[in-house]
């Protein structure tokens, strides 16, 4: 890890701040102070460097800047760019902290084919990883945010990155995205968790990211075999159920949640077949976070 103290605001506004997350390096540029604040808080534990000092290949060159005004500082909207292309519409400038996180996810989910990429959280304990594939609204991030405060290591909140040679998870521990009620749930339960700026009234409602535990960031080079594939579903007032799930159906569901399964062709099928074959697959329904934590701990012990 670089020992040199990096002036985050200065690098963001000049040649670019290099952030290393797992196997990927991002060069981030932005003149927006709100983004500087967010990155200073959420990425304080990461390996950061100045672009001019950076050796080796940078995977993604990203920029978030104001648009629509005569001067960037006066603009009301912000737009995400990667390699000078803008894949999304501009959004209100106060959403910049969310825009950068969504954009960084998009870089991996749309451009990486060296690994199988699945829309799933992934956490690890005692050298065993649990992959949690789920569509939005299933309580995946709330559960993940809670479990990583309870001793599970965060490998990713959003994108499970699976190697194609040994089917291990390559960690990508970025800030965990919470939405709407989940923000207060985690704030109340874990008062010491560090929150970034809140983006209100986004297309997903209120969005706020939390800083990952320092150990998850420090250990982001440690890959992990997949021991469990668990499909979580938050159901209001539900009891906690963990039930074995048919592996063939699990494979189909993971494929459905994958960004590049089809693009990888035969390699994608082989990877998923091996993942599912070597893992225990479950469906998990919950409403009580404490019971959910207990259930996961009984798996991980």
């Amino acid at each position: 890890m670089s020992n040199k103290k990096v002036d985050i605001y200065n690098e963001l506004t000049t040649s670019g701040l290099i952030v290393k997350v797992g196997v990927f390096k991002y060069r981030i540029c932005s003149p927006l102070p709100i983004l500087g604040n967010s990155i200073s808080v959420l990425y304080a534990d990461y390996e950061l460097s100045e672009y001019n000092d950076c050796s080796g290949f940078v995977d993604f060159h990203v920029l978030v800047k104001g648009i629509g005004g005569c001067f960037s500082a006066l603009s009301r909207k912000a737009q995400f760019f990667v390699d000078d292309q803008a894949p999304f519409n501009a959004l209100p400038k106060q959403h910049a902290p969310a825009i950068i996180e969504w954009g960084m996810n998009w870089c991996i989910s749309s451009q990486i084919n060296s690994h199988l990429i699945v829309h799933a959280a992934v956490i690890e304990k005692n050298g065993k990883a649990a992959v949690l594939p789920a569509p939005p609204g299933s309580g995946k991030s709330t559960l993940t945010a809670s479990l990583i405060q309870e001793g599970w290591r965060l490998l990713s909140d959003e994108l499970t990155i699976i190697r194609l040679d040994n089917y291990y998870v390559s960690p990508n521990p970025r800030p965990v995205s919470l939405k709407n009620e989940s923000i207060d749930v985690i704030k109340d339960k874990y008062p010491n968790v560090v929150f970034g700026p809140i983006s209100t009234d986004t297309s997903k409602g209120n969005v706020c990211h939390i800083k990952p535990p320092k150990l998850s960031v420090i250990n982001q080079h440690i890959e992990s075999p997949i021991t469990w594939v668990i499909f979580p579903k938050y159901q209001y007032q539900s009891k906690t159920y963990l039930t074995e799930y048919n592996k063939a159906k699990a494979l189909m569901d993971i494929a459905e949640n994958s960004f590049n399964y089809s693009r990888l062709g035969r390699q994608g099928f082989i990877a998923l077949r091996n993942v599912v074959d070597n893992a225990r697959c479950y469906q998990f329904q919950y409403s009580d976070l404490d019971e959910a934590i207990e259930t996961f701990d009984s798996l991980g012990s």
Partner: protein
């Protein structure tokens, strides 16, 4: 009775009574449930499929196999792009 020819290379995996089949040529993946696995293996591992062999298969004694049932299965496989009828 018709004969069928396998027209796609496939990979498949069976877990319990379910199977997942990947059609290498089309890139499509199929979930097959509640299905006699020996029929699946016979159809996907042989180049030519003879219905007589399927109906008379010694492995089929525990199953209620009639030619209409076999026809339905083979038609499904045709739709999935695994087989075509050749006579």
């Amino acid at each position: 009775m018709s004969t069928y020819q396998r027209v796609s290379d496939v990979m498949f995996e069976v877990w319990g009574g379910s199977a997942v089949i990947y059609n290498i040529m089309s890139g499509n993946t199929f979930l097959i449930e509640k299905f006699p696995i020996y029929i699946l293996e016979y159809c996907l591992l042989n180049d030519f499929i003879d219905i007589k062999e399927l109906v008379l298969s010694p492995d089929s004694e525990d199953e209620i196999i009639d030619s209409q049932y076999i026809d339905d299965i083979l038609n499904s496989f045709i739709k999935m792009g695994f087989l075509e009828e050749i006579e």
